[in-house]
Symmetry: C2
Subunit: 257 residues, 2 copies
């Protein structure tokens, strides 16, 4: 299994603190030694850092930890391989362009007997996760040859996720850089930090940050992770079959299949 990390914020925010916690699980406090990746949106552009190496041994992970990239939408992942060998092309998150936006996707779980029809989007690697992402994009493209607002897309996204969960475990993060969509079948936790901000202490490393010193009173920052990353805050748990649509740190739509 793998671990997911997502962020949706109303102001460009760095994710160094949460990333530091997650990276410990990549071969340190956790067994996810088979690579990691993180995508930061910057306007319509996306910066993707990936490494098939364990995050605690990764030079690129050290760069990301020491270089606070600010972003409103982030999708990260550390991998413990089940389907697909350990290599760069099997490393999440995956990125594809659809309708002139970069869509980014990361998956936690495993799909059994999953063989979607080949379409326009095709996997480069051999994971079930990338196959599901390509299938989801093919469904969107088939339903909407021209770009549509996310409210119009939502039923297609939810139906696709509902189909995948019939095949196994499917927790995912998906974004076009503007909105962030989360779907849970087993494990997904989230916390929204807003004023009054307080201190947060990582579970996986000896690190505490006082968000009050780093934020303004209007900031809204949601962090989503497979397991809560801090031990002194109350995280919410997404339920099985529950999906949420995030925009600038807030839930703008949600439901359950």
């Amino acid at each position: 299994m793998c671990e997911l990390l997502g962020m949706s914020a109303n102001v460009p925010t760095d994710i160094v603190f949460s990333f530091t916690g997650l990276m410990q699980r990549g071969g340190g406090t956790g067994p996810h030694r088979d690579g990691w990746g993180i995508a930061f949106y910057e306007g319509r552009g996306v910066r993707l850092f990936q490494d098939p190496r364990a995050s605690i041994d990764s030079e690129v992970a050290r760069l990301v930890q020491n270089y606070p990239i600010k972003s409103e939408t982030v999708i990260g992942h550390i991998r413990q391989a089940n389907v697909g060998k350990v290599c760069l092309s099997n490393t999440h998150p995956f990125v594809r362009e659809l309708g002139g936006r970069y869509w980014t996707f990361a998956h936690n779980g495993q799909l059994a007997d999953f063989h979607p029809e080949p379409g326009w989007y095709r996997p480069v690697g051999d994971t079930d996760s990338e196959a599901a992402f390509c299938d989801l994009l093919n469904r969107v493209r088939q339903a909407f040859p021209e770009p549509v607002p996310v409210e119009v897309l939502l039923p297609t996204l939810v139906r696709a996720c509902d189909a995948y969960r019939q095949k196994g475990v499917f927790n995912c993060l998906l974004s076009d850089g503007d909105w962030l969509f989360t779907f849970c079948t087993s494990k997904l936790a989230w916390i929204t930090r807003r004023a009054p901000f307080g201190p947060a202490r990582l579970r996986d490393a000896d690190l505490t940050v006082d968000f009050q010193a780093e934020t303004t009173p209007d900031d809204v920052v949601t962090v989503i992770a497979t397991e809560p990353l801090t031990d002194n805050e109350d995280w919410n748990l997404q339920q099985s079959g529950e999906w949420m649509l995030w925009w600038r740190g807030e839930i703008v739509d949600q439901g359950r299949v």
Copy 2:
């Protein structure tokens, strides 16, 4: 205008030496202050490092210089903006998936009055370069709904490049990770290094490398750049209208339109 950097090699090779030379031109010895990017293929995967900042001021550029990523195919670019503002989504190289491979593209030049028909691939940013890349991919997809060998593709690639050069200056590097295609309308230089290897001295920085100490006798490494990067070697110049197809460091096909 911008500067291009490409590499095709028969063995995973680091491009630190050439990259160090190119980076000096990004605000140091050259005026290309409007971002830089470099894509390294690793198997079928691709690592993309980009920064809209000048390369000489870029933390990410320093990482790439200090962290010798070995690859058989590399495409790099430093930008001096003409069309499109300075931002991440306008930073070369551009990447899209086609037929289950990541295609990577970088362009030096400028196209006037260029408004291709919108197709499946759409630009995320607003450069003429990304518009040309998307148009080229749309032509390939239209001609070949299923993946075909590069020999079959070549006439489509050459015809597309010939159409773009009618609109202005179009020097480009294009790869699917296996082959590297280069097209020249004004400036493109290349050098193939093979045994017996000798020392090479950068034009733009006080740096000499003795390739003999870093290679084996069977290595074949071609470097392609807008301007020669060293001052003690004989670089070849690609002619206007000339295209070349590279594979593992060697020219496997070439022609001129």
